[in-house]
Symmetry: C2
Subunit: 360 residues, 2 copies
């Protein structure tokens, strides 16, 4: 009952009564072989339950048949779905996925790429804090290892799969404007570590200007605020002139709804909220979320396709951005002219500590 070692190609050759080169040729269909020989080898392989040893192959062929996939976190469904897309696209290609998460940390990002490189991945799919500043990523490119980014807007010398965050965010500004909002805000978590957020803000800002809206308030919140709606409520209370809020992702947008309720504000009557991503649960809310709908899974699939092409020597070329759509939902409406700021403040429950009450 001792765990006997897996059969090697040598064992197959011995059983088939031939040299290992012949066995290799047959098993790989990489060279000539007589019908008789072919049968004997295949039979032997089957009988021994033979399968190639990946390490031996990798050593000789200098291909690990492994691709590295780095994302900020799998706890964020957007990235998890993207990885799922990568996985589904790579299925059957013979490539395996080595996964890694950085927790939105710049240094960890770079270290993770280094680790992937040490494991001699044949290609890399990544979403990072700052791909353009990662020395390890540069090294990868220098070694000729194809790199395919996900979610990042185009970056000098890098191929990426993305939705046009600037344009999509501009669309939100347009909707806000046509709904009659004049004073709007942009809510972000981890603004500094996410070029997506920054580009969304830029596009939103630009389009606000173009439409004659006031420059949007940039509200950057902490993990803490994102997690506890009461904390977020206290922050929101400081922006009571804002009638419409664009959250940099759906989860945040849902948290905003909760916080608004906490303040006694009605969504969308007292505050319009629009998210980004289009996560499924947004549809199921009592007030379905208005949002920019994207497909993270398609993002992963496309990134994987690109990489697969590159791995086949077809060259890695930048594709146009993936489409997005504006999901109507029910959290965007015209600002309520009857409600004054004072009304909203008056409705604020006393459970919010005075120290965090409206300042302006």
């Amino acid at each position: 009952m001792l765990p006997l070692p897996p059969a090697t190609i040598k064992d197959v050759a011995r059983l088939a009564g031939c040299g290992i080169a012949t066995a290799s040729r047959v098993l790989n269909k990489s060279g000539p072989a007589s019908t008789d020989m072919r049968e004997r080898v295949e039979r032997a392989a089957r009988d021994l339950g033979f399968s190639f040893n990946a390490a031996g192959r990798a050593l000789q062929s200098r291909k690990s048949m492994t691709i590295g996939c780095l994302v900020p976190s799998l706890a964020n469904p957007v990235f998890a779905e993207a990885v799922q897309g990568v996985q589904s696209e790579l299925l059957g290609s013979g490539y395996q996925i080595l996964i890694s998460c950085s927790n939105y940390d710049d240094a960890a990002d770079n270290a993770a790429i280094t680790t992937l490189l040490e494991n001699s991945v044949d290609g890399i799919i990544a979403t990072m804090v700052a791909p353009d500043r990662s020395a390890a990523l540069m090294q990868a490119k220098q070694r000729g290892i194809p790199v395919s980014l996900m979610f990042h807007d185009p970056l000098d010398g890098m191929v990426t799969t993305y939705v046009d965050n600037f344009v999509a965010a501009g669309e939100v500004a347009r909707r806000f404007a046509t709904s009659g909002h004049r004073r709007v805000g942009f809510l972000a978590l981890r603004f500094s570590t996410s070029d997506r957020s920054r580009n969304r803000y830029a596009g939103f800002h630009a389009q606000c200007r173009a439409r004659g809206l006031a420059d949007p308030s940039l509200i950057e919140i902490s993990e803490e605020e994102a997690r506890y709606p009461e904390r977020l409520a206290a922050t929101l209370a400081r922006y009571r002139d804002v009638t419409a809020l664009f959250a940099s992702n759906d989860f945040l947008a849902i948290a905003v709804q909760k916080a608004a309720r906490h303040l006694g504000w009605q969504v969308p009557q007292d505050l319009s909220v629009v998210g980004f991503d289009g996560i499924e649960v947004g549809r199921l809310l009592e007030t379905p979320l208005t949002t920019i709908e994207t497909s993270p899974e398609a993002m992963g699939q496309r990134a994987a396709q690109s990489l697969l092409n590159a791995l086949q020597g077809l060259g890695l070329t930048q594709q146009p951005p993936l489409p997005f759509s504006f999901r109507e939902g029910e959290t965007l409406a015209a600002p309520n002219p009857k409600r004054t700021d004072d009304d909203r403040v008056a409705a604020q429950p006393s459970s919010v500590p005075p120290a965090q009450a409206p300042k302006q």
Copy 2:
């Protein structure tokens, strides 16, 4: 500018002016070396930007320093978070994660394990349709490769990290009973491919009996119904005597709330709903979800710890189940005695096709 090949230990030895064995000993701190030699080798390694080649090492040491992780899908946040937990626990251990998804398919499950085995993973962490029926998993165990399951209740000869689904589900029945419900139901998606669902139903069923409730209705729905609340509403309408529903996961529970709204039913007044998992977004709902709260991330961490222990020769031993807690939420209340079944039917919007209207 040609992608020059990474330095090997041979290069290091040459530059340091020593034999490769010496270089290996120094770099691995695996044997004696004079201070002088040590410095020369380390310097050479640094200058060359040397790092070990994983394939060479794997081939020689017969350890790939890779662990395989198989889950049904990363599109399900519960599994994604678990993998995140595995990842975080394995960080710094030197082990890399090879990931694989089966899409809840039995055959794919087995094939995935086979692939992991071919990539000679040193250990396996998995959640499968039927671990006890997977020939490939048996093979892994025979080869002496440690296997650590996640989410599965204890299974003959397998070590698993889990929450006691039977007990947790029983707790839901208990709460239903003390709230005064007599006629309850269990809603599941993929009942046949999930032992978790089945065990939850079993525990729920057993405790319903113990409390003198009617045997719960088992409502197994399709992907289609789970995705479209109107479809789910039509199904729910057939169970109007049921006053409380236990959904086998939170996402389903949220869909039920949507469907109930579609039927004009109030949650929890007309229908109580309890979920399972404790996903974050449940707290943010307008009516926060009552649910069994678990920690998928902790699940992944514990499973990884177990495996790491086994990999260090400390033996793989079954641990007690992870704790769960009952999250109060606001979707469970006493059945409304004033509302009759007829009231609820009357409230049903005409948008539900007559063919799918209540049967009983």
